[in-house]
Symmetry: C2
Subunit: 181 residues, 2 copies
DNA sequence: AACAAAATTAAATAATTATTTAACAAGCTT
DNA sequence: AAGCTTGTTAAATAATTATTTAATTTTGTT
């Protein structure tokens, strides 16, 4: 053994690896590839990294690191950092989980609300046409009304989800559910 | 044309298809296969369905319907219904999106909190050992402390997420963010 | 402007995941 | 209990997605 302090260094590495493993494993939630999940978890304990350092540390190809970083930037879990002197690009992990939560879920929920609300509105138009059409039998009208009401009901949910997004974005939610208790 | 009311029937089908398409498309969020997503969206406009009706309607294999239904049951977006008389199993879609939201996200977030909290607690133990170890150099101790504090900070987020789950489960959140405005 | 280094894109391969067909097991009905 | 219907499991195939190697483009330095 060249130095007894090496044992402590290893304990630290072990500790980090436990957390890196857990974060990477739960990151499938965020719809990222295993490479991106591992990368974020690794970066979580680093100040900043270049693509070559990532490749070295994860033992993966540079394009894989490049696409992973881009994907992580999209959901704002990684930000580009400007380091003068070095001409390599440097990137840093967002370490504030609250911010990651906000960006990721708000983005996702807004897409869901937008897409589904649009479809619902269009569908309701069609249903109204069927209801108003004099050629429609009473049975058809009843059916159309039933679906119309079901869709109208679903809008309550989409509006609520939209409100939730607003409340997270504005930080209002933390008045109701404080970060520290 | 055998009956002019057919045009209205078609308008209704068109309307449903728009919503079915949108729901199925946004359901990748819930980590289900395309088959399961399509199935749920289709069931959303039906009272209840048997496996054979699903196979017929989606033009897919019965085992595919069987596994899709099971997956949807796991996240409680589909429930088994008991229909006397028929010996075929029948299933119904959960049509209350609030309930689906609750079950899905609470389940997911609880898993994330549990896994990551456990890893963090274990890692912090290791770090304390490194800090207390007399063989550790001052540099090692400083490093270990830095990581310890970072992990301690992350616990604030996990506790908050856990509170959010509680608040959704209990319905308390709807006092702050009402369903209808 | 020319060169070198770094990053990205494209094409090919590898790995994973979804779906189907075929075999099996469980559940009713007579 | 035998036989038919329904549902599930297992193995094989198909489709998709992730990753790599190779080629190209971009960026910065001299």
């Amino acid at each position: 053994m060249e130095e007894s302090s090496q044992a402590s260094r290893e304990k630290i590495e072990q500790a980090k690896d436990k957390v890196i493993g857990a974060i990477a494993e739960t990151m499938d939630i965020y719809g990222v590839t295993p490479a991106a999940a591992n990368l974020y978890a690794t970066m979580y304990f680093k100040d900043q990294m270049t693509l070559d350092e990532m490749r070295e540390e994860l033992e993966m190809s540079k394009p894989s690191m490049s696409t992973s970083v881009r994907k992580l930037q999209e959901i704002e879990m990684v930000k580009k950092t400007y380091t003068r002197g070095s001409r390599k690009h440097t990137y840093a992990a967002e370490k504030n989980f609250f911010r990651s939560f906000m960006v990721f879920y708000c983005q996702m929920w807004e897409r869901e609300v937008k897409m589904n609300m649009e479809a619902v509105e269009e569908a309701q138009e069609d249903l109204i046409n069927a209801i108003k059409d004099p050629a429609s039998t009473p049975e058809i009208v009843a059916d159309a009304k039933k679906y119309y009401d079901q869709l109208e009901d679903s809008k309550t949910y989409y509006r609520w989800l939209s409100d939730l997004v607003q409340s997270i974005r504005s930080g209002e939610i933390f008045e109701f559910l404080p970060k520290e208790k």
